[in-house]
Subunit: 287 residues, 2 copies
DNA sequence: TTGTAAGCGTTATCAT
DNA sequence: ATGATAACGCTTACAA
């Protein structure tokens, strides 16, 4: 029986997954669940299975680390995490092999998209269309990716000698369509604003576009919008969304391989980042 | 340590989940993953956690039942399953508490939408709009729900004295958008056909609509389409999709409660079906 | 009531 | 090599 095997040997053939650390995002989230799906397929090929880490074991509350030690998980994947959560910090500092497809911190191996490149793709595209004033809509900074993309924007704009006003930056109050809609209405109310925006998440972008339309604006004719992620639905949206495509399949795949390697050949943990390429896919929310 | 607890007591505080038994559907599928999410939240509240059942344990292949005995799971949820799979049959016949949000079979407790009612809602709606000829697009019969909805259609049409030709029934060759697109093109090629169709899955319906449009048909003006599921995206599709809404949150919730009750008060298993209400939500793919 | 020992199924160690 | 046995950490049953 497998619990006896785990008890007696050191290996559980199990990988813990931290998924909803920063928000109430569930399996139905197209971006994160796709990474998880890809990761899962790959680790299963190697004989491992995944377990969602919860802060409860039977009936008592546990820290992530205690939970993992209890379960004797062989490694853990952080699909998304809050770098300020003491639970996460403790886990990452421990000797348990850990990989993340989201956050970056000391002792943590990360496999993430090249956000700098993603934003650069956008800015170059906007510049190539003749824009001087280039806007951005971010999501909450509790997610590293939103923070990073905004930083990349600031750096790149400066570096390229483009000026931007703080009002050209809008931050949505959540991760979903509804919060995007509010942003769309807000942008529509601006008397003076950029005519192109990067919205650093497709699902927020959908909301922004509909919010804009609700106020009578046409996308892309009056305002152009570029999304970020390229989730399945983006191509079926109307108008089909121009977006920065993240390769979720590859992110999950590489994270799995990397983690398995760490488990099977343990070494000193250190901060290392693997960047997965992004590309811009031009559809119809830009002209 | 938890493996010691499992070994020594009979309880593992773990519920096995069978998810991809009939197709390669992953976490990113909006309908099933939402049921799973809701189920998961509810069982976690009671101190249980979920484990995805795979046919591999470490390195050896196992049947579902052997896997469950090995893991000593307290119960299992079948999110979707193939009733002809001997692995499923064996598991359901065993003494392990089992619940399904999909299939129906002896010794199995099922919590599913009222498909008969769902189809009736559609037919009544079509009739109320003056239609005599009423079509349907199904998905593969390996999924019980598709089969059942089509049966409901045949029964109800007969019962209501409406006639239908076998050519008014189209079955898609898969679960996705692409297979729907092919169906849309096919329907567009028909010289004689119904002017309204129920497509018994939203994601297939999206494909059908785009396939129709690709051949120059306007939805809803030339053909009206009703979907089934009401996934998140249906309201953001263009045109927003008229559809039969399934209450995935309630399905997952009730399945969780029911299974926990079976685990904590074991009784003889028997076939029982809990029907969860559906409703029609009228948007713009119908006039 | 509190404490002690047996046992869960597998692996790993240590004799033979 | 092959086989017996201790150890894994926790629960539970039984004794004091």
């Amino acid at each position: 029986m497998s619990s006896a095997r785990i008890l007696s040997s050191k290996k559980s053939w199990t990988i813990g997954v931290i998924y909803s650390d920063i928000s109430l995002i569930g399996f139905e989230h197209p971006f994160f669940s796709h990474i998880l799906q890809s990761f899962k397929s790959q680790v299963e090929r190697a004989g491992y299975e995944i377990v969602m880490i919860v802060s409860k074991l039977g009936n008592s509350e546990l820290t992530y680390l205690d939970w993992c030690r209890n379960k004797k998980v062989d490694g853990v994947l952080i699909v998304m995490g809050n770098i300020n959560n003491p639970n996460i910090i403790e886990l990452v500092q421990s000797d348990i092999p850990t990989i993340s497809t989201d956050i970056v911190m000391p002792n943590l191996y990360s496999v993430i998209s090249d956000d700098y490149k993603g934003v650069e793709l956008y800015i170059n595209y906007a510049v190539s269309k003749g824009y001087k004033r280039i806007g951005i809509v971010s999501g909450p900074f509790s997610a590293r990716s939103f923070y990073n993309r905004l930083e990349a924007y600031r750096n790149l704009m400066n570096q390229k000698g483009l000026t931007y006003a703080e009002t050209d930056i809008v931050v949505a109050d959540g991760f979903g369509y509804d919060e995007g809609f509010v942003v769309g209405e807000f942008i529509a109310s601006l008397k003076d604003r950029p005519d192109i925006y990067l919205v650093t998440s497709d699902v927020i972008a959908f909301g922004v576009i509909r919010g804009l339309e609700s106020k009578g604006f046409n996308v892309p004719n009056q305002i152009e919008i570029v999304g970020y992620d390229d989730i399945d639905f983006s191509k079926h949206f109307t108008p089909p969304l121009t977006t920065i495509k993240q390769d979720t399949a590859k992110i999950g795949f590489q994270a799995a391989n990397q983690l398995i390697q760490m488990i099977e050949n343990p070494t000193q943990k250190k901060q290392t980042i693997t960047h997965v390429p992004v590309e811009i896919v031009i559809r119809e929310t830009t002209k």
